[in-house]
């Protein structure tokens, strides 16, 4: 048990070293959510409220929690998928042949992905505040951290599940284009879900990120489509389900 904690720490530490050394990845991963936030925010302005957005809430305030969700979605899925990089570069073998339980390996990776994801999310939150979002209360901020952890863990699990079943990097762009981007657009991150036709709305309701973004909105700007309890329960359940799935598939993977 103690040894496993040590291993979790070791894997987390490696993720940190890699993250801060790969400057291009650091800036690359924060750049696209930042541009979304900055240009959409400036384009629509924070003044006039858009249709479907509760009155008195500016677009930047509405958008920031959405872009935080986006940041977490991308960074967490990548963190899960980074098993593929390790497979490609052989390092996965070094991890898999050590006497560390598979669950500790999964937890170490999750801890690493969580840390880097939330770090980036907070940078986006600060950018949102600079662009006009009101500074959240301490309670609101702490509650938003809870939702951030749940969102990140959910999608680390998803990334891990895919990485465990994929032989190499060839399916990567497929996952990007047919999974991650649709999850992002269908989460209500950019505009209220009411704008979608009913069929598409159903898809949005099946998307865990929808509840994550909604929970973040409740925490940070006090306006949400669902009750925060509903957000918490649905997101929490998908978090447990996807992380378990990822851990299970990773556990059964063979390294050649």
């Amino acid at each position: 048990m103690i040894k496993d904690l040590y291993a979790i720490y070791s894997i987390w530490l490696r993720e940190m070293l890699r993250f801060f050394r790969l400057k291009s990845r650091l800036f690359g991963s924060i750049a696209s959510p930042f541009f979304f936030l900055a240009f959409l925010g400036m384009g629509f302005g924070n003044g006039a409220s858009l249709p479907g957005i509760p009155p008195g809430i500016g677009y930047v305030s509405f958008l920031t929690p959405g872009i935080i969700g986006m940041t977490l979605l991308f960074s967490a899925t990548f963190a899960g998928l980074s098993v593929l990089w390790d497979r490609e570069f052989g390092f996965l073998k070094e991890i898999m042949v050590s006497p560390v339980s598979r669950i500790a390996i999964v937890l170490g990776r999750t801890a690493g992905g969580l840390t880097t994801g939330i770090l980036q999310a907070i940078i986006i939150m600060l950018s949102g505040i600079l662009l006009g979002m009101k500074v959240p209360s301490l309670q609101g901020f702490l509650l938003s951290l809870v939702f951030m952890v749940l969102i990140a863990t959910t999608f680390i699990g998803l990334g891990l599940a895919f990485a465990s079943k994929m032989e190499d990097m060839s399916g990567f762009s497929l996952i990007m284009n047919f999974l991650i981007f649709p999850l992002f657009f269908l989460s209500g991150a950019l505009f209220p879900l009411d704008r979608f036709p009913p069929v598409v709305k159903v898809l949005a309701y099946l998307n865990p990120l929808t509840y994550g973004v909604d929970g973040l909105r409740y925490s940070l700007i006090g306006a949400s489509a669902f009750s925060p309890a509903v957000d918490f329960v649905i997101l929490g359940s998908s978090c447990i389900a996807l992380l378990s799935l990822g851990a299970y598939l990773f556990d059964t993977t063979e390294v050649n």
Binding site: F89, E94, V97, P99, S101
Partner: protein, 343 residues
């Protein structure tokens, strides 16, 4: 030639073996990669699995190191079952994989530090041990360099150091010198030997380099098509091939020379064709002066003498009916680069 390749005599059962395999088999779909292997490896032994790519060497290593599970049969490493006691097996072994398995973003020291933590070594223990193993492979000065800037040989040396770091009982080396230049290979051989002889670590290595197996290993198993076709010390294996061959090129007095040679009791057989005489002889080196003396006395003119000692290559040829160099994927290092990881 086939009469000897079919079955190898039952292997001796070694008590308290470092590794034992009984009926060990791995199938990938239709293909049987490893077929009913029975083999014991002694504690403290430096053991070689010799064979072409695809012979099943790496598959055996992968089963013994718990990377893949056997289809049937049983294998024990340091007394632990590779299928049922994976964690215990993993704690007992160190592995150096065929392909590099380091994190290039981290320095050599950080890679070792990561490894030590994964094996539950505490900070002071890690620090002391890292210094030791770095010194063992002469990489102390490169410890703070990121591993993406290491050469192939340096990476391999660091991996060997890492394999030893947690004091394993058994060290697995899968093609330890593949893709390395001749000089680096010599260095690596030296390190491997030192580890085995001075530290007493049991070592199992796979290789398709005959001279590597010959130089390093206490015992060698020659593999072909998932089976062991020969198993013994390199010396005994070479003895099976028989005596050494002296080849003489003559221009004059060949017949007279032949007559004299036929009277020597230590010559086992003589073959002559055109100007060439082939002699099968034991201790050939010390017989050459005698032959030259007789040739001189009988005014025979010898233009060249060559001596061929049996090599493991000859043994391999005898048991598999092929030269290892004829086989696909075992030729130049370029081809090895391209086919890496499939062995």
């Amino acid at each position: 030639m086939n009469d000897i390749t079919d079955e190898v005599k039952p292997t001796e059962v070694i008590k308290d073996a470092a590794i034992s395999m009984r009926g060990l088999t791995k199938e990938f779909g239709e293909m049987i990669a490893v077929n009913q292997i029975d083999l014991d490896i002694k504690k403290g032994e430096l053991f070689g699995l010799l064979g072409a790519n695809g012979a099943g060497k790496s598959t055996i290593i992968k089963m013994l190191t718990t990377m893949i599970t056997p289809t049937s049969g049983e294998a024990r490493v340091w007394g632990y079952d590779v299928a049922k006691e994976r964690k215990e097996v993993r704690s007992s072994i160190g592995v150096v994989f065929q392909d590099p398995a380091v994190d290039g973003m981290l320095t050599g020291r950080e890679n070792l530090d990561f490894h030590g933590r994964m094996y539950g070594m505490d900070a002071s223990c890690r620090k002391a041990r890292i210094a030791e193993v770095l010194d063992l492979v002469d990489l102390t000065e490169k410890a703070e360099v990121r591993m993406q800037d290491y050469s192939g040989g340096m990476k391999r040396r660091l991996e060997i150091a890492r394999g030893l770091m947690h004091y394993p009982h058994v060290l697995f080396l899968d093609e330890p010198t593949i893709g390395l230049d001749a000089q680096t290979r010599r260095y690596i051989w030296q390190y491997i030997r030192n580890m085995n002889k001075e530290l007493g670590v049991t070592i199992i290595l796979t290789t398709h380099y005959m001279e590597e197996a010959d130089f390093l290993c206490d015992r060698v198993a020659i593999m072909d098509n998932g089976k062991i076709v020969a198993l013994d010390t390199p010396e005994h294996l070479k003895d099976l091939i028989g005596s050494e061959t002296i080849t003489l090129e003559t221009v004059e007095g060949k017949d007279a020379l032949m007559q004299i040679l036929q009277s020597f009791p230590w010559i086992k057989s003589i073959n002559a064709s055109n100007g060439t005489i082939e002699l099968q002889v034991d201790h050939a080196q010390s017989r050459i002066p005698e032959i030259m003396l007789e040739a001189n006395r009988n005014s025979a003119v010898i233009t060249s003498v060559s001596l061929h000692k049996p090599t493991l290559e000859d043994v391999f040829l005898k048991y598999t009916g092929r030269k290892i160099r004829d086989l696909p994927g075992s030729g130049s290092s370029m081809a090895n680069m391209m086919f890496r990881g499939r062995g």
